[in-house]
Every structure is written in C-alpha cells, then in structure tokens.
C-alpha cells in the first residue's frame, strides 16, 4: 500500500506543480490549461465562499467529488492527494524522530479554526484563504518559493555566462534554454512581502521536524472539514483478535489517530495512509466497508466550540470598524485587477490564493498588506511602478477560482476603469523642465489615447522661446492601466501615476458625473 500511496501522492504533486508552472502567459489570450484545478476541488473554499457571498462558481461543484470520496473512503484526500500534505510528508521524512506519535495534543485546534472560519464566513467575512492549504500553498509558491527558486537557478547560469571559464557557456546556455522553456519563469518575478509569506510557509514545513504532519494533524481547516465527514465514511479500519497491542502501528501513523489502542482509533484523524495495515506484524489490521465498530469521535470541548464560533462572529465587526471600511476612499493605491467586483463583494470572495499574481504578465499584481485592511491581507493590488495592466490581457479573471475577479472578454476589459492616471507637474519633464518627453502618450493603449498633448510655449532660462507638447490626461478615456507610470522616465517617484479614483466597479469611488 505504501508504494501505491506514494505514487498517488507523487502524481498529484506533479500535476499540481505542472499546473502551477503553466500559470504563465505564453503570449496567447488563454493559458490552455485548467490551472486553478486544485482550488476547484477544495470543498472548504466552496462552502465558505457560498456562506460569505451566497454565490458559487460552477467549477466548485467539482469539490462535491471530494466530499463524496471522503464519505466513502475517509480522508484519502489528505493522505493520498493533497499537495501540501505530500510536501509535509517529504519534509517530515527528514526528521530524525523515528516515531510518528503526537508530541502535542492539539489536534482539536484545527476544528476550532474551521469553526472560526465557518462562523466568520456566515457573517460575510472570507478569511479562509489565509489558512486554506491549497490557497496557502499556491500563494506561498507564487509569491515566494518560485521566485526564490527562479532567482537561484538564473543567477547560477548568469554567473557562468558572465564570468565562467571560456567555453562553459557552450554547455550551460543550452541547458539554461531548456530550463527557461519548461521550468523557469519568463522573467524573474518580484513580490512584496515575499520573505514574510515565504517564512510562514517554511515555518509550516519546519513544524514537521518537530512532529511529522504537524500542519495536517493540528492546524489544517480543510483536514478538519474532511475529518468531520470522515467520521461517517463507509471505509472503516478494523482490528482483529490477533492484535496484541504491540504499538507498531502507532509509530507509523501519519494522522496521529491512535491506531494502537482498541476502540480509540479516530477516523477523523486517520489519513487512510494504510501504514498500520502494512506494518502490523500480526496482520490484524483490515480496512473494509460496512462493518460497524464503535469509533471515537472528535471530543471537542463545548466551551472551545462556542469560543471559536463567537470569535469568528466577532472578528467581523472587529476588522470592519477600521477607518478603511468607512465610505471614504482612504487607500488610493488600492488598485484592484480589472474585472474585480465592488470592494465588499470582492473581499467576500477573494481567498488570496495568488493565482492572479502568478499569472499577471507584467508582475504588477502584488499581495496587499494593509491597504485593504487586515480582512484583505494578501489580496491582489496593482502596483504600476512594478508592472502595469496589459491592455489586451485578461488572464487574472481567467484564473480566479471564486469569481472575485470576473472573467472579462477583451472588449469588456477595454472599457473597465481600474483607476486614473494623474500627472505631477512638478516632476514631469515637459511641464516642469521644458524638456520634451512623450513616453506616457506613446505607451497609452486606449484606441483614442487618454494621454494627449497641449502645445505650450514656455521661456527657457535665457529667455528663449521653447515650443513643446505637455501631456494631459483625458479623465473620460483613462482606464488606469498604469503603463504610463511603469514607463515614466522619472525614476523613483514617477511624474504620472495611478490612483483608484473613478474605478468602474465602485458606485462610490466615481469621479465624473
């Protein structure tokens, strides 16, 4: 069984990583792969999004398959498929601890986290993405691990290219080309908070050294959800009379499900890895359908359940009494991707999975920190100094799993305003320094350019007359894509930049009558 399980885990992990790497433009309008596949199968996101926004993306019906499988076979998703679970497994195998027995008795924590999330989503706040394993994994890989991986590989090849011994490029460059085409990013990704988000992820992996599958056993809310379903699953573990309670199974149990004591086995904690079946020297362990044996439930403490539910309810007003929730735009830099729903509806759906940031063709979509409040931490925002919104690109809406960013056609997108470019005349070359520059107008992508020129005659220092063109922004045409800000030659603080005023998703944040 062990080899079969490892093969299954390996295949799912490879599919996951393959789809992750394919979450990148090849220049066509569509990606060609269902890159958000794993998120579609995530019942935790499905249920919490349903509760918080009362809406559902059709693709989420796939997650019903996971629910059905769990009711039939138990938490096999955790043990056999979950890519984060597999990474936990792999990291755990580096642990020197022989035994798999739990070091702490925290396994109830994950249920309290789940209850907290369900309560807050019932009261319209979607915080699941922060701890949902699939969201967490994609976000951490997108924002931190993959950029790190990419930079390390690229730097190695670059140093061979720039300063390696003569002739080495004949060997390294062809290898580099193959890697670039298949594994590496088209351009080095850079993300705000990459170290922070990466540290959280590495900490979660590191916990495996303290106790194998620490995350899966004690913290994972998806594991908790599937664990609850698993209590009713048809596939059951049974121990025959031959068991002499030698304890061999406890040392290999991945879930910490107490397999070694008769009557104490917990299906909600069992990952159905079948290690106990494999190792039992008495061949006393069986997995079979239908037969009923009394099993131990998750003995949640009533007080803790109430406390976590109350916590989930109270966190909603707590986070929403910050000034950012006032009907005043206090965060002009919060430029949402095109197709984003109105801010409140957006936050009800966004699970901060980072798919949009991974796919963003210019690297402009970045994880926010407090721009959207704590509620919106790590939700996507466009930072045009890093990258602009490519006029004819619609990928972020295509990969969003929850519909927080609507899928737009190119025609629809052309008329969606995500903000407005404003000129800072104190820095703009033609305005402040009587020096010709037309970059913002040249790159402006709207068919009738939103940046236009006013002919101006100004006097130079010596009194000479200089005729030049000074840029102006046509508010009615500007869509806020930010290419002017990205390309503005005034480094550091650009002379033209985008604020979110006038974004078409908002009823409130409008500018024109």
């Amino acid at each position: 069984m062990q080899n079969l399980r490892r093969a299954s885990q390996g295949i799912f992990l490879l599919i996951f990583l393959f789809l992750f790497i394919q979450t990148e433009s090849k220049g066509a309008d569509e990606l060609g792969y269902p890159v958000k596949f794993f998120l579609d199968f995530d019942p935790l996101i499905f249920i919490t999004t349903l509760l918080s926004s009362h809406s559902v993306q059709k693709a989420f019906y796939l997650s019903v398959i996971v629910i059905i499988i769990t009711l039939l076979l138990g938490r096999v998703f955790c043990g056999w498929a979950c890519p984060l679970g597999t990474l936990n497994n792999i990291t755990g195998s580096f642990s020197k601890r022989r035994r798999n027995a739990p070091s702490v008795n925290w396994n109830r924590a994950k249920y309290y986290i789940l209850i907290f999330l369900l309560a807050s989503s019932l009261f319209t706040m979607q915080l699941t993405g922060i701890v949902d394993p699939i969201s967490l994994l994609i976000r951490s890989l997108s924002v931190s691990i993959y950029p790190l991986f990419n930079l390390s590989i690229a730097s190695a090849f670059d140093s061979a290219y720039n300063s390696g011994p003569k002739g080495i490029v004949e060997i390294t460059e062809p290898i580099y080309a193959v890697l670039k085409n298949n594994l590496l990013a088209f351009a080095q990704p850079y993300f705000l908070q990459s170290a922070f988000i990466g540290a959280i992820f590495l900490f979660i992996l590191g916990l495996n050294l303290y106790e194998k599958r620490f995350w899966c056993r004690h913290l994972c809310p998806l594991g908790a959800l599937l664990g609850i379903l698993s209590r009713y699953s048809l596939l059951r573990r049974e121990v025959s009379e031959g068991c002499n309670e030698c304890g061999a199974c406890a040392s290999v149990c991945q879930g910490g499900a107490h397999p070694d004591t008769r009557g104490k086995w917990m299906p909600s904690e069992c990952l159905y890895c079948r290690n106990c079946d494999d190792i039992c020297p008495q061949k006393a362990v069986f997995f079979g359908f239908g037969k009923k044996e009394n099993v131990l439930g998750t003995d949640l403490r009533r007080r803790h359940v109430i406390a976590s539910a109350m916590g989930g309810v109270m966190v909603v007003p707590l986070l929403r009494t910050a000034p950012l929730s006032m009907p005043v735009n206090l965060s002009p830099q919060l430029i949402r991707p095109p197709g984003s729903l109105e801010e409140r509806e957006f936050l009800k759906r966004c699970v901060k999975c980072g798919e949009c940031m991974k796919v963003c063709i210019t690297n402009g979509l970045q994880p926010s920190f407090l721009e959207a409040g704590l509620e919106g931490i790590w939700s996507p925002m466009l930072v045009p100094r890093i990258g602009y919104c490519e006029f004819r690109c619609t990928l972020c809406g295509q990969v969003c799993p929850t519909g927080a960013i609507k899928k737009l056609s190119q025609n629809e997108k052309a008329s969606v305003k995500i903000g407005l470019a404003v000129i800072d005349k104190s820095r703009c070359l033609p305005h402040a320094h009587a020096t010709p520059c037309i970059v913002c107008e040249e790159v402006c992508p709207t068919p009738k350019k939103a940046v236009w020129f006013e002919k101006a005659e100004v006097r130079g220092r010596g009194g000479e007359l200089i005729t030049l063109q000074q840029p102006r922004v046509d508010i009615s045409l500007c869509i806020g894509c930010g290419i002017c800000e990205t390309k503005c030659p005034v480094q550091g603080m650009p002379a033209i930049y985008v604020i979110n005023a006038g974004e078409s998703r908002s009823e409130y944040n409008r500018l024109l009558l």
Partner: protein, 299 residues
C-alpha cells in the same frame, strides 16, 4: 532587375545565349542603373515585398552565402496585424524566406518590445510567420546588451543588442505609422528596438538620437511596410478606423531616402520630419526625392 528579366532582355539582344548565366551580374549595370528606391504596390504583401527587393537586384545582391542575418521588424506592441502597429507578418516572413533562399545561414528576428514580449511576438503574428519561413524569433535576452561607442552627436555610448553587432548583414523591416513626437515613425526610429537600458530618455533629443543610432547600424537593406498604415493614434493605435490600406512596400539601401519617401506617402515632406532632415544634413543619406532614381512596380 532580376536574373529572369536579364535573360529575357539579353535574349532579345541576341547575346544571352553566348554567356553562361552565372556571368550575368557582370552585365547588369550596363543595362540600367539600379534604382535607389523600389516601390511595389499590389494586394499581396508577399508578392510586393519580393518585387521590391527584386527591383533592387534581388536578395542575392544583399546576402552572401553563409551570412548570419538580422531582420528587424517593428513588433513592439501587443496588437493584431490588422491594427497596423507592428510590421506586417507577411512582409517580414517574405524577407526571411528570401534571405534563406539567397543562402543565409541563419536569420534572426527580434525586437525589444514595449508591451510584454510574449504577447507582442505572438499577437503580431510575426513569430509564427518567421518560424514558418525558416527564421528564428527569439525573445530579447537582457544580458546580451553591450555598451557600444556610437560617437554620435546626442548619444556617445549606449548598450545595443549583441545580435546586431555580430550579424553579417542587417535588414530593417519597419512599418509606416503615426507617432506623437516624431510625427511619422519608419525605419530610423525602428532602431530603438535594439537599444537596451532606459531608452525612453532619448525622447528628450529624439531626432538627433535616432540619427546617431541608425547611422551607426547602417543596414544593408531597408524594407518599409506600407501595406496597412496607421494614420493616427500611433504608434500603437487600436482603432481600425485609423488604419488605411495602402498596399505598398518601399525598399532601398539608403534608410534616409526610404524614410523620406515614406513621409511623402504619409502626406508630409521628408524635410518636415526632424530626423530625416538631420540625417540628410549630416550626410547619412539623400532626402530629396527628385534626386532619387525611384522605380515603381505595380502588381
């Protein structure tokens, strides 16, 4: 004049049969002076491209066997061919094909784009067309820009793309279109696509900078695509009503002459275009159309 035409004329003269065909180039100048510019018009972009090059003596008079050739189109924008912001893919592909037919060992096509390179290469249709024609269209590798002493008037030194510096022959294949500062952008402005670093600064002295870079590059041949001309909202357009169908291709060895003719086609006198005038004044080419031998071919 191409070989077939020569044989025909020579045959009529009754001397063609007495010489092996390989000697025909010895006689070509004796029959007619090669034109400075060839302007071909017609509905097939490929056919007029070939006709214009043939009128200048055929690709063999530019490319030698075994040459590594750079063909530089304008594909700076994430736009479709019909939006006329990038060079027509058929024109580029035909040039690539002619180069390979003339014995080129490798034909490289690239541009340092303004929009995302992947979208520019794919959406312009150029990558696919070039690869079909036997050339390569690789993305620009930022490591391969090399500081070069240009010793121009406005630009003394600038990082340029190594492929251009190492190529045996360089062919410029720009498109004729509107531009907010330069008024019209054609072949000389197309060399911005080989410039590294923050090239947007050159807009401060655009005309002289373009003259400096283009006179440094010195292409063997310039083929200006005027099949579809973007008449307003350039250089990237987007509105099909700004696109005029002209169905012409202009070829020549002198990029100043090509641009001067292109300007005229656009409705502007070459001397009104800053970089054309400066280039002519500084002796890099001829802008007075009346001084040029222009051959017009219509298919």
């Amino acid at each position: 004049m191409n070989r077939r035409k020569f044989i025909k004329i020579a045959g009529i003269g009754g001397i063609g049969i007495s010489f092996p065909a390989c000697l025909d180039h010895l006689f070509t100048p004796a029959y007619s002076a090669e034109p400075d510019l060839a302007v071909a018009s017609g509905s097939s972009a490929k056919a007029i491209t070939k006709a214009a090059v043939d009128a200048l003596g055929g690709m063999k008079s530019f490319i030698s066997k075994g040459d590594i050739v750079v063909v530089k189109p304008n594909m700076a924008w994430d736009r479709l061919p019909e939006q006329a912001a990038n060079t027509n893919p058929h024109v580029v592909a035909e040039i690539v094909r002619l180069c390979i037919e003339a014995g080129a060992k490798k034909v490289r096509v690239f541009d340092r784009t303004v929009n995302d390179p992947r979208r520019c290469y794919i959406q312009s249709g150029i990558k696919e067309a070039v690869e079909e024609a036997g050339g390569t269209a690789e993305y620009v590798d930022e490591r391969r820009f090399k500081n070069v002493k240009i010793n121009g008037v406005a630009i003394k030194e600038w990082p340029l793309y190594t492929e251009i510096l190492e190529a045996d022959k360089v062919i410029n294949v720009p498109i004729l279109k509107h531009h907010g500062l330069a008024k019209v952008t054609m072949s000389m402005k197309n060399w911005m696509g080989i410039m590294g670093s923050d090239r947007s600064r050159i807009h401060q002295k655009l005309d002289q900078s373009l003259v400096d870079v283009s006179s440094f590059v010195k292409p063997s041949l310039t083929v200006l695509d005027a099949v579809r001309v973007l008449a307003a909202n350039g250089p990237q357009g987007g509105d099909l009503s700004d696109v005029k169908t002209v169905n012409a291709v202009i070829a020549g060895r002198d990029q100043v002459a090509v641009d001067s003719y292109g300007a005229a086609l656009f409705g502007v006198n070459g001397s009104e275009i800053g970089y054309v005038r400066l280039a002519a004044e500084q002796g890099h080419g001829v802008m007075e159309l009346e001084k040029l031998n222009i051959r017009k071919i219509s298919l």
